[in-house]
Every structure is written in structure tokens, then in C-alpha cells.
Amino acid sequence: MTTLTAPPKTAPPPARPRKSPGTAKWKRRIPLLPALIFTIAVTQLPFVATLVISTFQWNILKPGERHFVGLDNFTFVFTDERLRTAVLNTIVLTASVVLLSVVLGLGLAMLLDRRFAGRGLARTLLIAPFLVMPVAAALLFKHALYNPDYGLLNGTLNAIYRLFGADNGPTVDWISSYPMPAVVLSLVWQWTPFMMLILLAGLQAQPGDVLEAARMDGASAMATFRHITLPHLRQYIELGVLLGTIYIVQTFDAVYTITQGGPGSQTTNLPYEIYLTMFRKYEYGQAAAAGVVVVLGAIVIATFALRTIASLFREEASR
């Protein structure tokens, strides 16, 4: 797709061998080349094609009318109301899923960092949502939880109402009444275990003696958490947020499966809108232009992400 600006250097260049530097240098590069060439061919070339297509008026239903239009598609992308809604939906979806899953993941990680009966089993069960195939998880939420007639949410409400003598509970059509929360909830369910795993690794990497010292000094649990644990976890939280953002911005499965972007365009995010432009409206030029804009947005996020990862990387390299 594209190359990003070079991130900060993380280590001094390794010492060069003294004898015949030319051949030795190439000998070292040879194992790297197949992977590098493959990556450039499969990821960078399509992006060049996207750039070219984005300057054409090209609708597959009107084959005779393909022609160069310069930046017109970009004007369209920035002024089209559907796309603006899609950008907004993408931000709302990504931000709420990341935020909620980090908070829930942190809570679970704090609990699982302590000893309790069946901790190993609890951890194993907790990672299951992350391992269920995303399309399967989305269908599971759509039908097993949200379905107004036989979904678990309404079923449970019903059972509770009957427990208290009422005839039946309310029949809520969760997906059409609360489309965005419905998608968010299913994604939070999938991503909380991911955050939990990374934050738990962070908690377990905490130096025990510092915590011990804090306890000896009579620091309260809250103070220890705020002044020792949270600063220590910062890097792990950043890593979780950034990796989560990268994956969740790209969400396609859940939107396609649960709401198909609807009702109206209430849950249409950018990947789904681009998909619609491409395979429903057949406007290739517009889809390509939207793709270019998405990549530009991703570069902004990725620059932050690379910086965070570079700092973790530097720590490791200096070890």
C-alpha cells in the first residue's frame, strides 16, 4: 500500500565485518530479499493502482464513459454526505469499542493478576470470545442475543418478567432500535479478551519488590494503583489501544453480518461504504479515492502506533 515516514532509530547500527565488506553485505541481505520483494509486490503495487484509478471517472455499468477526471473523485469524497456519515460512524465505532474493551480488559486483568480458585480455567474461558471466528461471533450476536423472538436478551427479560408474575416481557428489536450499540457490544465482547491478555502480561511484568515496598510503606491499594501500577501499565495500554484501533478501524465482518450498514446508513463504516461503492454502485473511481483517503487517515494513526512500538522496541534492544 504505502511506505510510512521512517520512525525514530532504535539502536546504533551493528558493527560491520572487516573482511570483504561488499560480498559479506550481500550475503546478509539475501535471506531478507524474498520477503521484501514479495511484500512490495503484493502491498505497494495495488496502492499505486488505487492512486491511478482514483483519478478516473469509472463506473463498470457505463463502460464507454471511462475517462480521466483529475481530483474530481476526491472532491466527491470530501463533500458526499454518505461518506461523511461513514467517517463519523467509523470514529464512533472504533473509539467506543477501544475505550470500553480497554476499561473492561483492565478490570479483568486486575482480577486475574491475583490468585483465586480456578484462575487458570477462568483465563482460558475468557479468551474464548477472541478465538471464535469473527463472522461466527457476529451471527451469534445477531441471532442468539439480539433476535426479538428467540434471542437470549429478550428471553432473559421474559423469564424475569414471568418470575415476577407478569405475562411476558417487552419485545425489543435490539438491532433496529439500537443498531450502533448492538455492533459495538459484539465487538467489545470480541476485543476485551485481547486487551485483557496484553494488560495481564503488563501486570505480571511488574517488579514485585516495588509493590512490596509500597505495601511496607503503608500505601493504600488505590495509591499503589495510581502511582505505581498505572504508570507501569502505560506502555501496555498504549500498545493495546493502538493495535486495537488498527484492527477495529478495519471492521468489516461485524457490520456486513449484523446490520449491513443499516438501518439507513446508521452503522455504515468506511470499509463497508467503500465496499458498497465498489460492489453495489460499481463506482470504481470513487471507491479508489475513498480508499486513498482511508490510507491517509491510517498513516496518521500508524505514525503514533509506530512511535509507541518503537519505544517498546528500544527498551528491548537495550536490554
Binding site: T2, P34, P46, D113, R119, G120, A136, I198, I309
Partner: protein, 294 residues
């Protein structure tokens, strides 16, 4: 924890049950918080449990309100799935995932070697180049990939998926493998070279034993991501090369929905990843964080 795979099988099972006990100094959770922890765990696990349970029910018992968890169990849904031919989809998924994982390893292991044990100049820049390709949304590449694949007559072909999944996972694999290879002690490598051991001997005797668990973890992560991939699969395949997630989306509509059969299909396609993920949970964190977290 890195060398868990080298431990005896018995020890491994014990570890699954008492995971995290190595952190022995950790304080105990009070009964109230233990209850909270278990409540949260069960809340998160409930949809999975419900999916598996429903998959063993008859359709009439599956779509009831209120739910009937204690309905009689049956294998009918699974039998139906196989008679309605989920098999080719599973085979396509297995083929795309396994072949691309092998291809990823063939490309990533030498690259990771060149980036860690005998690093090339500017190796960090190369590392970040690989990673940057992962950050860019696949949707932006879908159109040109679709057009190229169509022109090449490779639509609805498993090999198309193999190549795309390889590109998708290669950066992750390079990062992970590098972090595992970086653990090979430099002193031992140097000592072996001073003793006049050849490259192959060094690789086989020194590097391989340390890197094996890492290789297993890397393959697992690549397999999981390929197995679960949906966007390319649904847009680039039609009838011959469709994978398991594409089979599943046939259940999207509400009309004539077979809920129990849907649950059986969802359980079946999630099973390989669930088993692999449970078995290798130690490695999962390091893989998911590209090796940045141990």
C-alpha cells in the same frame, strides 16, 4: 514461559490448570472479588456456551422464548451440515490457511534471521517498513486486487487467497520471529563460530532449539488470522474456492433461518482456532503484540 513447549506433556497440562501460579507472590483475591471475577468470566463465556449447547439441539428447541437450555441433545445438526456439504468450504479454508502459513514461514524465517542474528544495516527501518504495510486498511487494496485477480483469471481460486493471506501475515511473522531469534544467546553463536562450526550446524544445533517454540507460535497466529479472514474471501471467491466464513454468511437472513444448524456451523468453524488458541495461550500474547510484550 517461553520454553513451555519444551516441558513434559504432564507439566504442560498442570500448567493449564494452574496458569499464572509462577507469579506466586501475588496476593489472593477476597471471596467477594473472586465471585465478581467468576461472574464476569461466565458472562463473557455465556454466548460461546450457548452456541455450543444450541448446536446440539433440534431446531424446535433452539428458537424458543424463553430459552430452553435443558432440551434433549442430538447430533442431527452436525450430520445435516456434512450432508449439506460444508466439507468443501472447510477444505478450502484449511488449504488457504495451511499453505499460506507455510509460505509465510518460508519467507519470514530467513528475513527474521537477517534482521536479528546477523542484522543487515538499517535493520530497524526494514522492520518498520514491514509493520507499516500491516497498518494500512485492506479495504484500500481490495479494488486493485480484485481487478488484477480478475484480469489474471484467478477469481474463485484458492491460490489467490494463499497469496493475499501470505502478504497479510508476513509482517506479523517477521516481527514475531525476530523477537524469538533475538533470544538466541550471542555468546553461544560466537563460541560456535570460533570453534569452526558451519552455518548449517549453527542453525541446526544452536538457533533451531531456541527458535522452535517461536516458530510454532508464529505459525499458530498466521493460521488463526488466515482461517478467520472474511473480506477477501467473500469478495474474491464464488463457488469453487469459498472458505468457511463465506459458508457462514449464508445464515444472515432471518427468513427460513435454521438457528440450531447455524450454531453447529459456527461451532464447527471456530473449533480449530479455539483448540489451537487454548493450547498455546502462553504464546498468544507475545504473538498478538508482535513480540513487543512477553
Amino acid at each position: 514461559m517461553t520454553h513451555a513447549a519444551l516441558a513434559a506433556p504432564g507439566a504442560r497440562f498442570k500448567k493449564l490448570l494452574h496458569r499464572g501460579d509462577d507469579h506466586g507472590s501475588a496476593p489472593k483475591l477476597s471471596p467477594l472479588w473472586t465471585f465478581t471475577a467468576w461472574l464476569a468470566t461466565l458472562a463473557f463465556f455465556a454466548p460461546v456456551a450457548w452456541m455450543v449447547l444450541t448446536s446440539f439441539h433440534q431446531e424446535a428447541d433452539a428458537a424458543t422464548n424463553p430459552p430452553t437450555p435443558f432440551a434433549p441433545l442430538t447430533l442431527d445438526q452436525y450430520k445435516l451440515l456434512f450432508s449439506r456439504d460444508i466439507t468443501p468450504f472447510l477444505l478450502n479454508s484449511a488449504m488457504a490457511s495451511i499453505l499460506s502459513t507455510l509460505l509465510v514461514l518460508a519467507l519470514a524465517v530467513p528475513a527474521a534471521y537477517a534482521l536479528s542474528i546477523k542484522p543487515v544495516q538499517k535493520w530497524t527501518d526494514v522492520m518498520f517498513f514491514f509493520l507499516s504495510t500491516k497498518f494500512l486498511p485492506a479495504i484500500a487494496a481490495l479494488l486493485p486486487v480484485y481487478l488484477i485477480v480478475k484480469d489474471a483469471g484467478m477469481l474463485d481460486n484458492v491460490w489467490t487467497l494463499v497469496i493475499l493471506y501470505t502478504a497479510m501475515n508476513l509482517p506479523i511473522a517477521v516481527w514475531m520471529m525476530r523477537s524469538f531469534l533475538a533470544e538466541v544467546p550471542k555468546e553461544i553463536l560466537e563460541a560456535a563460530e570460533v570453534d569452526g562450526a558451519g552455518l548449517l550446524t549453527v542453525l541446526w544445533r544452536v538457533v533451531a532449539p531456541v527458535a522452535m517454540p517461536g516458530l510454532a507460535a508464529t505459525s499458530l497466529i498466521c493460521f488463526i488470522f488466515s482461517w478467520n479472514e472474511f473480506m477477501f474471501a467473500v469478495n474474491l471467491t464464488a463457488t469453487q474456492a469459498s472458505t468457511a466464513p463465506v459458508f457462514l454468511v449464508g445464515f444472515i437472513t432471518n427468513e427460513g433461518l435454521f438457528f440450531a444448524r447455524l450454531c453447529a456451523a459456527a461451532t464447527l468453524v471456530s473449533l480449530p482456532v479455539l483448540i489451537a488458541g487454548f493450547a498455546a495461550q502462553d504464546k498468544l500474547v507475545r504473538g498478538l503484540s508482535l513480540g513487543a510484550v512477553k
